[in-house]
């Protein structure tokens, strides 16, 4: 392990320790903002775990997030909490594997459209089921999980996604994905089973999204498909990851923090023009900083040297 890696691990541990104290230091508002930021940090990092190296832009984030949230809504009252999370993870893995196997042969814009369609499809299916079978559109999520506990769980998940990302980066799978991102034909010709590598990572990345949804659900107390499968989540995650930079593991977080704060501000001050403002931010980011904040930082570090 290089010196730099040891340092990053120490910095990560220190940051985690400090962040774990947030519930004691700030009031309810601060905590809810922190929950928002950490949940997006997990989603954006998990998103770029797959989409960064492979360059497959996925808009299916909310499909998995919503599946997780609904799993909690259905089982939280009857099953112990770890079992709920386990079920959410299993459902997420199964859906991701089916979707991955059937779509990752698509490339470019076709995959983007499919992933967006998938989120809508899942939402419509859940809606249909709730209306026709359970005859309730919308569910109450009653648990005794506190906001602080939600925060700590998300923080643990964030640590986990970073550890997994770090390990993948050093693994054969990581090399395979970078090769696929560069040139899929060449990757196949060097013996890489590109479909398997892509599906494996897609599944891994979406499990984190599913778990985030499951952990977040108790925050709402009431959910319906429009809340759980809100496509804005997918776009928000995408733009956060792009702003931060997807070619580095720490990149997405650099986009999550400023954007989460900005969105919070816009939502409070301009609730009626929120979508327009977010759209403008989106365009600005893509034009002005295509390689993300992580890219800018690296440039800044390299230039004076």
């Amino acid at each position: 392990m290089s010196r730099r890696e040891t340092l990053s691990i120490l910095a990560g541990a220190l940051a985690t320790a400090i962040l774990a104290c947030v519930p004691f230091l700030f009031g309810d508002y601060g905590l809810s903002l922190a929950i928002n930021i950490v949940s997006y940090a997990v989603l954006a990092t998990a998103w770029s775990l797959f989409s960064g190296p492979t360059r497959y832009v996925s808009l299916a984030t909310v499909a998995f997030f919503g599946i997780g949230a609904y799993t909690t809504a259905v089982f939280a009252e009857t099953l112990p909490w770890p079992a709920v999370l386990a079920i959410a993870a299993v459902i997420g893995v199964v859906v991701a594997a089916i979707v991955g196997l059937s779509t990752l042969r698509l490339s470019g814009v076709y995959f983007v459209i499919f992933s967006f369609g998938l989120a809508e499809l899942v939402r419509q299916l859940v809606t249909w089921w709730e209306v026709n079978k359970t005859r309730t559109l919308g569910r109450y999520v009653f648990t005794d999980i506190t906001a602080a506990q939600i925060y700590w769980q998300l923080l643990a998940l964030a640590v986990l996604v970073f550890v997994v990302g770090f390990l993948i980066g050093r693994s054969r799978l990581g090399l395979a994905l970078r090769a696929i991102g560069d040139d899929e034909t060449v990757a196949r010709h060097t013996g890489i089973d590109t479909t398997r590598a892509k599906v494996a990572l897609f599944v891994l990345s979406t499990v984190f999204m599913t778990l985030t949804g499951a952990i977040m659900a108790p925050r709402w107390t009431y959910i319906d498909p429009a809340i759980a499968f809100n496509p804005v989540v997918s776009f928000t995650v995408l733009i956060m990851a792009l702003l931060g930079g997807v070619h580095r593991l720490y990149g997405p977080v650099l986009g999550v923090v400023p954007l989460a704060l900005l969105f919070e501000f816009l939502l409070a001050r301009f609730p009626n023009h929120f979508s327009i403002m977010v759209g403008l931010v989106f365009i600005l980011i893509v034009y002005a900083i295509p390689r993300g904040i992580a890219g800018l930082l690296e440039q800044a570090v390299r230039r004076p040297a």
Partner: protein, 248 residues
């Protein structure tokens, strides 16, 4: 059947064009075979069919006695068939070292860790890129990118190496080095099928030539004999073309 590669009745059409037309040939272990033909005669399509990048419409391909027609590209690569591309295709975001490492990690050796790292360095040395270990491919000259691609192909520990105009565009000194390099690979026991236009290289390397024209095999045999074949001359130069050496 002792042939390393046996192709029978291989045919591939693109719309109305039959790019490869009922092609049959065999390659014995240890041979260096040149695949020749005018531009558009279907040579690269043949390589794509062999490596699995394209599927044949009809015909059989047997490699090491196994039927490989219709198999996935990566399984054929792992079986011991490696190739380079006519227009170089290095993995742009990976250093030279990591480019070669892909072949080691996913090819036949499935090597990883310190041993693979060392082998990658050795392979870079082998093709003359030892100094470029941590360089990105974009910073290399065209020739060095070709060397890199060869090293990546060698990392698969191929029994059959497909070279698609690997010697094209080299200056005389580089050409000499390139020929020596290919010869040394052959000496190591690697069977080589090379698509090539550089006549000097063909004469000095190939034990046997296959000549294609409009998708069909029109001649096969030792270089002297094949290159003197009137039909080959006509295919290359036309009926009243001027006869010359070098790049045809």
């Amino acid at each position: 059947m002792s042939a390393l590669l046996h192709v029978e009745g291989l045919t591939r059409r693109f719309g109305g064009l039959t790019a490869v037309d009922a092609l049959s040939f065999s390659i014995e272990p240890g041979e260096v075979v040149g695949l020749l033909g005018p531009n558009g005669s279907g040579k690269t399509t043949v390589l794509n069919l062999l490596s699995g990048a394209l599927r044949a419409d009809t015909g059989r391909i047997a490699f090491k006695g196994q039927e490989i027609g219709g198999r996935a590209v990566h399984t054929i690569a792992r079986l011991g068939m490696a190739r380079t591309f006519q227009l170089v295709r290095p993995l742009a975001s990976l250093s030279c070292h990591d480019n070669v490492l892909t072949g080691l990690a996913f090819g036949r050796s499935r090597a990883w860790g310190a041993a693979a790292q060392a082998t990658a360095d050795t392979l870079l040395e082998r093709v003359g890129l030892g100094r470029a270990r941590d360089t990105l491919p974009a910073e290399l000259t065209y020739i060095d990118q070709k060397r890199l691609e060869l090293a990546r192909a060698l990392a698969l520990q191929p029994e059959l190496l497909l070279l698609d105009e690997w010697l094209a565009g080299l200056n005389p000194t580089e050409l000499e080095e390139g020929i020596a390099l290919i010869r040394s690979l052959s000496g190591q026991g690697i069977t080589i099928l090379l698509v090539e236009h550089v006549m000097d290289a063909i004469r000095s390397l190939c034990g046997r030539l296959l000549v294609m024209n409009t998708g069909r095999l029109i001649a096969s045999g030792p270089p002297q004999q094949v290159l003197a074949d009137p039909e080959v001359v006509r295919a290359y130069l036309g009926d009243d073309g001027d006869v010359g050496g070098g790049d045809a």
